[in-house]
């Protein structure tokens, strides 16, 4: 856990958290300067899982590069694939069949719930409560089973392709999703009873890791982390893609900006996703699940940018094309990367015991940061 203990010239203690630490959920390494128990500086040390996905994509075709993006934010694999597919479709001007659009949104929202479930369980575990993890996994497993049946994989689905989705829905899909909705609604009150209302939990979250609205904008923080500070930044609302502008759901905003606000945003966001799924599950149009596309895709010379709302925030895919079959340059603006940049700001001056609560509510996924 602690690799090396050193002291600065001023007598401050320097400790390392990670790269292997249960609360960083991945190989994130934080170098922390401490004065007693007070944090003076948090410096993230990245690159332990850097695979240079951007460079790799330069030699992969527009059909192939999408698969590398499932390995970025592996908890939002569908949404990452979605962003890439949308960018390529934008460049080629492909119209997507209505059925594929609905399937994509359904999958995105199921992913969002699964991701928030995992976060909720892990968050409680970071703060010392082990039971919630099992409750979260009970629901999350149901979603993973649905994914497995239709996409053939539980985490890195690679289901969305330019033009639509790879294969049609499994015949059981609708029934299983409906079963999941019933299960979820029967169990969701347990989340509040078990964790949200717990006074010890609230004391550890409230007023901890406060991020002001101005700071959130300046640091480029997006997603639930920014919405906890009152920044309206839901891409689904601001720059609607696919069929989101025809759906009814609310953008969840809290104004406190502390860890508890970020916690509440995610918890309430799951209910919004449920709302979206309920609107769509009985209304999946018949028809093709994929538009007819050429075997070899060539994007016209130019630049294409597409953003989507992943479970963590705004993911941007920026493709520069020279007209060939592979991208000339590709950049993934990953939400975790920008969200991490505010960690030092929100923890500085606080106690080391609060670091985990602040970091946990930012919901960092390390492969998304390192890429």
């Amino acid at each position: 856990m602690v690799e090396e203990i050193g002291k600065t010239a001023e007598g401050d203690l320097i400790i390392n958290v990670g790269p292997q630490h249960p609360a960083t959920h991945g190989v994130l390494h934080l170098i922390i300067t401490l004065n007693g128990e007070t944090i003076k500086k948090v410096e993230p040390h990245l690159g332990y899982i850097h695979r240079s996905i951007e460079k790799m994509c330069e030699s992969l075709t527009y059909r192939q590069f999408i698969y590398t993006t499932s390995r970025m934010d592996y908890l939002s694999a569908h949404i990452n694939n979605h962003a890439c597919a949308l960018t390529v479709e934008k460049g080629l001007g492909i119209e997507i069949p209505a059925r594929a659009q609905v399937i994509r949104v359904l999958m995105d929202e199921l992913t969002r719930i699964a991701s928030h479930e995992l976060w909720w369980g892990a968050m409680a575990m970071d703060l010392g409560a082990f039971t919630p993890f099992f409750h979260a996994f009970r629901e999350r497993e149901t979603i993973n089973d649905i994914m497995e049946e239709t996409c053939g994989a539980r985490l890195t689905m690679n289901y969305m392709v330019p033009g639509g989705v790879m294969i049609d829905l499994h015949p059981n899909f609708q029934n299983r999703v409906k079963n999941f909705l019933t299960l979820y609604k029967r169990k969701i009150h347990e989340y509040d009873e078990l964790v949200t209302g717990n006074i010890i939990f609230q004391n550890r979250m409230k007023g901890v890791g406060v991020l002001s609205k101005e700071a959130a904008i300046s640091f480029g923080v997006t997603g639930p982390a920014a919405r906890g500070s009152g920044v309206s930044c839901d891409v689904r609302k601001l720059y609607p893609y696919e069929i989101y502008n025809s759906l009814e759901f609310d953008e969840i905003l809290e104004t406190e900006g502390d860890s508890f606000a970020r916690y509440m945003v995610r918890l309430r966001e799951m209910n919004e996703s449920i709302k979206i799924i309920e609107q769509l599950i009985d209304n999946i149009p018949e028809g093709d699940f994929q538009a007819k596309t050429k075997a070899v895709l060539k994007l016209p010379k130019g630049e294409y940018y597409q953003r989507v709302e992943t479970a963590r925030g705004e993911l941007g895919v920026y493709i520069v094309s020279e007209g060939g079959t592979t991208p000339y340059r590709i950049k993934f603006r990953s939400p975790g990367f920008s969200n991490l940049s505010c960690l030092d700001h929100i923890t500085r001056g606080g106690k080391i015991g609060d670091l985990i609560a602040s970091m946990g509510t930012l919901d960092l996924v390390i492969p998304d940061i390192d890429r």
């Binding site: 990245l46 690159g47 850097h50 240079s52 951007e54 460079k55 030699s59 992969l60 700071a215 904008i217 300046s218 640091f219 480029g220 923080v221 997006t222 920044v231 309206s232 930044c233 601001l238 720059y239 130019g302 630049e303 294409y304 940018y305 953003r307 705004e314 941007g316 920026y318 520069v320 000339y328 340059r329 950049k331 603006r333 990367f337 920008s338 991490l340 940049s341 505010c342 700001h345 390192d370």
Partner: protein
């Protein structure tokens, strides 16, 4: 707001800017020497402060580098793209991490992978690669016989 309207407004505050109509957003071309001043003007523009730097990256065009800054105003939700051309032999540009604080990590990443020097950056070190790494992997002429697999 349409790109044409944005162009009129921005050409008033940035006299030296050149405009380009590629992609879906307004592209603004600037000289590296004017960047800091222009960035401050864009950030503090009263009716439409471009306060959200949502993407910062670099492109290697083999003859030169282009720094690309994607900006958006959280008040009006308008997006613009600022492009600054850099000399490939001596890629240097002033940092904007004091204007948009999120730029600090983005700039470190670009330094790490492209070797662009950000002047007056508070902490310009390699971010993803190890400190003793030789070369800048995202440059087009980068060769690494050990770690790179050519397809």
């Amino acid at each position: 707001m349409s790109n044409e309207e944005l162009k009129t407004i921005i050409s008033e505050i940035l006299s030296k800017a050149s405009f380009e109509e590629t992609g879906e957003w307004l592209n603004i071309g600037l000289e590296a020497a004017d960047w800091k001043e222009s960035a401050q003007k864009l950030r503090n523009f009263a009716s439409m402060p471009f306060n959200f730097l949502f993407c910062l990256t670099c492109i290697d065009w083999k003859t030169h580098f282009t720094m690309v800054y994607h900006l958006r105003s959280t008040t009006t939700l308008d997006n613009i793209v600022v492009k600054v051309k850099l000399d490939r032999e001596k890629p240097e540009i002033i940092t904007v991490s004091d204007i948009w604080r999120g730029a600090e990590l983005f700039e470190r990443e670009v330094y790490d992978l492209f070797g662009v020097i950000f002047l007056e950056h508070p902490d310009l070190r390699r971010l993803l690669l190890t400190d003793d790494w030789v070369g800048y992997p995202l440059r087009k002429d980068y060769e690494d016989p050990i770690n790179m697999i050519k397809l």
